[in-house]
Structures are given as C-alpha cells and as structure tokens.
C-alpha cells in the first residue's frame, strides 16, 4: 500500500511518522517548497488544551500527552523538545477576572487544570512582568511550547529512517480522480500514483481539493508575528494580553527569542509577503507596557503566516464522502502545530483501522458543514 501525503508541514509529517510507525512501508510526502515552508514554520510554537469545545479539549489533551511522550523517546533524541511552561492570560480589567473564573470552571469540568491566580503568583511565574497594569490572571499549567525547527528536523530524521520519502520542491498541481478514487497527484516533477491520498497542504489545500470537485469552506487569514534576538531565559509561559484589542501575546521560545504577535484587521487571502508598517508598533506597544525591557531589545524579523480558518474554527479531518481513498487534515484555524501529534495519530488510525481511536474526531469531517453540524463552543467569551 502506497500512501501519498501532500504537504510537509507539521500535520503531513506527523501523519507520515504515525503511518510508518504503524508499519506502512511506502509513504511519500510531497512538498511544494521546503519542509515547514507554510503555516508550520510561521507559527508561535505554543501548545495548549484550554479551549472551549469538547472536541478541541479532548484532542488537545491527547496531543499534549503525545508531545511529552515523543519528546522523551526517539523524536526527543533527534531534538524534539517540549517544555511545559504553561500559558498565562492577563486581565487588565477586574470584570475580566470573573470571565476567567467561568472559563476555569468549564476547563476543570473537562479535565484541563486552569486556575485563576493572584498577582503574587503571577510575579513568580513571569518575573519581568509589570503587574501594576494587571488585575488578575488565568494560568494553564498543562500548556507548553515546542520549537518548530528542531521539531521538524527531528521528524524529518525519524521519518527518513523509517523509510518515508520526503520530496521537497515538488508542487502538487492537481489530483487525478477515476470514479470514486484518487489515482494520482500531478506534480511539477511528474505524476505520483498511490493507493491512499492525504491532503495536509494547509493554505493550499482548498485550491488543490477543487481540482477534484471538493469545496472546503476555509479562508486563509494573514497573521503577523515578529521575533527579537535571543536572550537568557526570562520566563516560560506564553503570556496573552486578553483585554487589549487584537489580543497581543509574547512567548520566549525555547531558543531564547521573544515571539510577539497581535491580530490586526486583514483581508483573507492577502499575500504573506505584504508586510505592514503599522504591525510592529501595534504589537510592541502593549507588550512593552507589560514588559518594559522590550523597549531595549532588537527585532530580528517580522513575517506573516496564514490561519487556515473554518467557519467553526475547528479542523477538517478524515475521509471525504464521495471518495474512497482520500483523507483531509487541514483548516486548523491557527492550532495546527499544537495538534500535530494527535492529527498524525488519528489520520493514521482512520486509514489503517477504519476509524480514529478518539471518537470526537469523527465530528470534524468535511460533511459537518453540509449537515449544519458545526462544532459548538461551550463558552463564547469576549
């Protein structure tokens, strides 16, 4: 059995890894540019389970378990690193602390151990924070981070050792269908045939699936992020400035750089090579209020990556009704990196065992949009 995966981002590579681990000998990953070129290499590296839908929470808890397990095993020896540094949401307003309390109750009921913390505890978690501006905070100690490039390198190494072929610089231009089966992928370097096809092509998935008449309701929304030079460890958690519009965040990645981002209004599909001059001041100002030292650090780079967003902000997983041998893993709406390990696991199970071991994943197939069975958020906040 030959399995063809389109996209060498986090989802494609973890799927290849899981398949190979489950004994599939013939796996090929086709990548338009280079490993991690798309949304994976552009992400903020954060990992959490503190969501507001059962689907997200159950899947992410398993993903975190896998991140930990992988970092302690073979992938860890190849450099995959997972640091359970937590997430912290800051409230600048008193009433936001009440919102946090409601969220905590929900998370706790679903087994995610978030807590509302006071300023003293906040200071010990995030020492350089100017807590004068903060009314309270919510802490998720289960959350963490993993550096993208060491993770990708570890996956590449492990995949190749298991016999997976990764063809970079190979753009899939269309899928070729015969009846209810996909028979080949037409690439910039010729046709690649296969028995099973997995589309994990991130922002490129929608156009590719159109070539076999499948419409997926995703929008590619540009998200902006910058990094500073690396510094000694200052704090571990990813910190979110919840009460500031655009929800700015800062995380000191494992390598020591500070990644800083903020949502600014953007048209979907806008080029990721069209940076905006107003982004950096907009992102840095609120963060510098909270972390005054940011005024004295140098920004190294600023880039844009796509959130491949679905109407209910949950991924599209699994088989597609009218095809027998086509699987999708896309539309992660900004959470694809953190979901990588669980994505790989459930797609591999779907292919090899006919269904995923986590039943909630079955609620995330493409037909949910036709059936009107969108995922329900248990709490809509802010």
């Amino acid at each position: 059995m030959k399995i063809v995966i389109v996209g060498a981002g986090i989802s494609g590579l973890f799927t290849a890894y899981s398949l190979a681990k489950m004994g599939v000998r013939d796996v090929v990953v086709l990548e338009k540019r280079y490993v991690g070129y798309g949304s994976t290499g552009r992400c903020a590296t954060g990992i959490r389970a503190s969501f507001t839908s059962e689907e997200h929470i159950v899947l992410m808890k398993e993903s975190i378990r896998l991140w930990k397990e992988y970092s302690e095993g073979e992938l860890g020896r190849y450099g995959l690193n997972f640091v359970q540094g937590g997430y912290v949401w800051l409230a600048r307003k008193e009433e936001t602390v009440d919102t946090f309390r409601k969220l905590v109750a929900l998370h706790n009921s679903l087994g995610v151990p978030t807590r509302v913390i006071d300023r003293d505890e906040l200071r010990s978690l995030v020492p350089p924070l100017n807590t004068n501006l903060v009314a309270g905070a919510m802490h998720d100690p289960m959350a963490g981070k993993s550096y993208v490039f060491t993770t990708l390198r570890a996956l590449m190494k492990a995949c190749r050792e298991l016999g997976v072929r990764i063809a970079t610089g190979t753009e899939v231009r269309k899928l070729i269908a015969r009846g209810s089966r996909i028979v080949a992928a037409e690439t910039s370097k010729g046709e690649v045939s296969g028995d099973i096809f997995v589309i994990a092509a991130g922002a490129g998935s929608r156009e590719l699936l159109k070539t076999v008449g499948i419409e997926i309701p995703t929008k590619n929304i540009p998200r902006h992020i910058l990094t500073t030079e690396p510094y000694q460890r200052a704090f571990e958690p990813l910190v979110i400035d919840w009460d500031t519009p655009g929800v700015p965040y800062i995380v000191q990645i494992i390598e020591g750089n500070f990644f800083i981002g903020r949502d600014i209004e953007e048209e979907p599909e806008q080029s990721i090579y069209s940076q905006r001059i107003d982004f950096m001041p907009k992102a840095l100002k609120p963060i510098a209020e909270l972390f005054p030292f940011i005024k004295a650090v140098r920004v190294l780079r600023y880039w844009i990556g796509y959130y491949v967003a679905t109407p209910d902000n949950h991924p599209i997983y699994g088989p597609v009704n009218n095809f027998d041998n086509l699987f999708i893993a896309t539309g992660f709406s900004g959470h694809g990196y953190m979901m990588g390990p669980v994505t790989g696991k459930i797609i591999a199970e779907w292919i090899l065992e006919g269904r995923p071991s986590i039943p909630q994943a079955e609620k995330l197939t493409l037909d949910r949009f036709e059936r009107g069975a969108l995922v329900r958020e248990l709490a809509v906040i802010g």
Partner: protein, 497 residues
C-alpha cells in the same frame, strides 16, 4: 588592564588626528579612548581581544567585520546587551561589559517608547557609501528632496578606509585617496538643504503601500518615497575551518577599518588568506602600519589580484603561496598560530603538506557578498550570479529592479569597485530625476544618464581588470520588455512612485 597600546602614531601616508580624551568603564575599570573612536576600536587599541563568550559553547569572540554587519563584537553597553560596539561611539562615563553566553535581559530601558515621525521625500537613498553618496548628490542637485540613511555614525561607507589613490578623470575623483573622496562628497552633501541625512539608522523593511521603515536611536521614521536607491554595499565572505571564530581571525576589511580609519594596529604578525585585490592591498597596508605579514595564501594556482598590487608586497619579501589554504587556527583567547596546507588541482588538502606558522592575526579576504536583503524582502526578482558574489536583483540598464522605482547601485548590485559604484549611483539617480523632474531638466537628466551608461559599459568596464564583474553585471541586466514580463510573473510586495 593590559598596558599595551596598539594605536599607530607614525604612519608613512596617514595622519591620525585624535580628538580629546574620553574616559569610560570596561568591566568596571576606567579606560581611556579618543573622541570619534568606536567602542570596538578603542578597546582593541588598549589590547582587549575577547569581546564576548559565545551563546552556546562559551567560546571567546572578538570583532570580525568592524562595520556593523556581523555579530562578533556584541557587548553590553550601559546595560543594553547585543550592542554592536563597532558602530557605537565612545562616550564619557559609558559602561561596557563583556557578554557571556546568551544576552541577559536588558537592565536599563528608555523611559519612553520610540518617538515616531513621518518623513516626506522624493528619493530615499539607503547606504551612504560611494554609490549612495553619489546618488544623493545627483538627485539633490536637481532639486529633489532626498533622505539618506546609513547604519554607521559617519558617511562614506568603505571609502573611509581606502588609502590608495583613485584612477581616472577629475570627475571620477582621480588622484584622490578614498577617504578624501568621502570627505569631499559628505561636505558637499552637508551644504544641500534638500538632503536629510539619518546616521546610525537602519532601513528595516519595505511595507505594503510603498512605505519604508527606518529605525534610528529611539526614533522610528516611516517614509513613502517616490523612488528608492538601495546602495547597501556588501559584507565579507567567511571561510570554514576549525578555530575560525578565535579573536584575531578578522575580515580583511575589518583590519582596514582598524588601521586606516582608527589608526589601530590589528596585530603583530599576520597571515592573509586570499590574494585578490583586497588581500594584496590590505597586506601592503599592514606593512605600512608596521605589521609583519608572514604569508598570503591563495587556494587557486595563480594570484587573484592585479599584478601591480602583488609586485608591491613581493618587494617587501612577503611570500604569496598559491595552491595553499588554511586548515586550522589555534590559540586560547586569541590566535597564536595557524596550520596551512597545500591543495591539489581539485582544492583538496594534500596529506602530509601541513605546516604550522606562528601569527596573532588571520585576515580572511576571500571575497564579498552583496547585501541586497532589503530588495529580496521587497520581492525584487533575484538571481544568483557567482561573478557578482551571490544573489543580486535583476535590473534594467538604468538600474531599476522589478520593484517599480526601486533602484540598486554599487556593491549591492554585485561586487565591483568604488568608481563603478559611484557611476552606478549617479545613473540610478539620474534615471529617477528623468521620471520625476519636469520639462527640460528631466530631459537633461535622461541625456546625462545615457552618457554615463555609455561610459560605464563601453569605456570603463572594457578594462580587462573588470571583465569578471562586467560578465556578472551583464547576466544581471535585463531589457525593459523582459522586466515588464518579470513584474507580471512575480509581482513585488510593494511599489513606489
């Protein structure tokens, strides 16, 4: 504190007029310097070799490029880590400390955030070296409003360390030494009221809508110019060998900055790697500065640079060893010697031919790489041209890239030399003027540009000494029709005008 002082007081052709004394603290100890010196030059002058210990392995590091292009001279200055001390002027009372490992979180922060200002300009010139200065002068002489940005604290780019006399006519500054040309041009520029010069400022990006961001000390500028000339120069190529990060391994240009600009001897006994013109000229300048040159190594079977420069150093008994390269540098906190090795016709080391030489300075002079990053970021169509030192933007004969009204000139367009850089700067500016200036003056500029293009390609570059660069520039130059095609196929991230 080492008692040594590496400052040069007697030089056959240069006079170092030192400013008044400045006192600052290095690792808590008061030291002396002279006004106008960079922190890196001042520390090097008093015998400091180790500026930092590397982030992961804690290896000693000293300055390499001396012009703000590398990260070898990072130190903590007044509490701010990762400060490039080679482009930081000494000030009374400043505190300078070695950085050990990853930078600590800055201990002092400006009380206010950076101030912001929107600038108006017809032409933004990025880089104040020979190409940028020429472009700014030419554009300003036609009455256009010009903003000129440079990372360094003084104008002139690499002209300031060029001590040889230039060839050519008076219009090309023939007969003047490089640093004198920089003085003449900067002086002329300072008298023009329609030019605004921003020193110690970085043009950090090209943004949607044709905005360019400029970061200065505690100030952020944004400008939406009608045209841009990128004249950001080049950086020195590196060479991989064990010990290549030891203090005392330096770019040839870095050593030139030390001895020719600041009058500081970069070492006592030098080994020079690479016999191109830079390697040969720097060897001669080392001799002038009183430094012994133990050998010049050349991996190719023949000398790379011009005969006239090779003859000069040979006269002083400096061996030029062809088919040789360096295989290792050794020493604890500074270079103490090097292992050199003979290579076969495929440039592989010949076993058994290794030889140790004693030296405290190893100068890497294996070529330059164009610094065209800003153009690449703006999505100008780039091409890898080995003759030009790396990736360069494709451009028309009048130096416009595939980003409309974004021009390139000088080494950023491909490594050549200073006179062609000045000519390119003028061609770019005149081409801009021909579009922006109305009536007769626009026509006049177009004619002048045409004449300069003709001179550059049909006279100046016909010299056999420039044949390699000429070949490269031919590869990087496309017709206007081809450029239009490229623009359709690869739309730029922004455009100007």
């Amino acid at each position: 504190m080492p008692p040594s002082d590496r400052r040069i007081w007697d030089h056959p052709i240069l006079v170092f007029e030192r400013g008044k004394k400045v006192r600052f603290f290095f690792e808590g100890v008061e030291v002396e310097a002279y006004e106008g010196e960079s922190v890196a030059a001042a520390l090097y002058a008093i015998g400091i070799d180790v500026f930092s210990y590397s982030a992961k392995l804690g290896r000693p590091r000293g300055p390499f490029c001396m012009i703000g292009k590398c990260s070898s001279c990072f130190m903590i200055v007044d509490g701010v880590p990762n400060t490039r001390t080679c482009v930081e002027l000494v000030r009374d009372g400043m505190r300078v400390e070695r950085q050990r490992g990853l930078a600590p979180i800055p201990s002092t922060t400006p009380p206010e955030g950076a101030e912001e200002e929107v600038l108006e300009a017809d032409v933004l010139v990025i880089g104040g070296g020979p190409a940028g200065l020429s472009a700014a002068l030419e554009a300003a002489s036609y009455g256009l409003d010009v903003v000129l940005v440079d990372e360094h604290f003084r104008l002139g780019g690499q002209l300031v360390k060029q001590t040889h006399k230039f060839f050519g006519s008076k219009e090309l500054f023939g007969g003047l030494r490089g640093f004198q040309i920089a003085e003449v041009m900067s002086e002329k520029l300072s008298k023009m009221s329609n030019v605004r010069v921003l020193l110690r400022s970085v043009a950090y990006g090209v943004f949607r809508g044709g905005w360019v961001g400029i970061a200065s000390r505690n100030k952020l500028y944004r400008v939406r110019p009608r045209a841009v000339v990128v004249a950001s120069g080049a950086s020195e190529q590196y060479l991989a060998f064990p010990g290549n990060d030891l203090p005392g391994v330096m770019g040839a240009g870095g050593a030139q900055t030390l001895m020719n600009e600041f009058g500081v001897r970069p070492g006592e006994k030098a080994l020079v790697v690479g016999s191109g013109n830079v390697g040969l000229i720097v060897s001669y300048q080392l001799l002038q500065a009183g430094v012994k040159v133990v050998a010049i190594l050349e991996i190719m079977p023949s000398i790379g640079g011009w005969f006239v420069h090779a003859a000069k150093v040979r006269r002083y008994g400096v061996p030029i060893m062809t088919s040789h390269t360096i295989s290792a540098a050794w020493g604890s906190e500074r270079v103490e010697g090097a292992t050199i090795v003979k290579v076969d016709e495929r440039f592989n080391p010949i076993p058994g031919s290794e030889r140790d030489v004693e030296c405290d300075l190893i100068l890497i002079s294996v070529g330059l790489a164009p610094d065209a990053r800003l153009l690449a970021q703006a999505r100008a169509v780039m091409r890898w041209v080995p003759e030009l030192g790396g990736p360069v933007p494709l451009r028309t004969i009048d130096l416009e890239t595939s980003v409309p009204n974004m021009y390139v000139a000088g080494d950023a367009s491909g490594i050549e030399e200073a006179t062609s850089a000045m000519i390119e700067g003028r061609i770019a500016a005149l081409s801009i003027v021909s579009k922006l200036a109305e009536g007769r003056r626009g026509v006049e500029a177009a004619e002048k540009a045409k004449k300069l293009v003709d001179f550059l390609w049909n006279e100046y570059r016909t010299s056999p000494l420039l044949s390699r660069a000429r070949r490269g520039k031919e590869k990087a130059t496309v017709s206007h029709e081809e450029m239009e095609k490229l623009r359709r196929e690869f739309p730029p991230a922004a455009s100007f005008g």
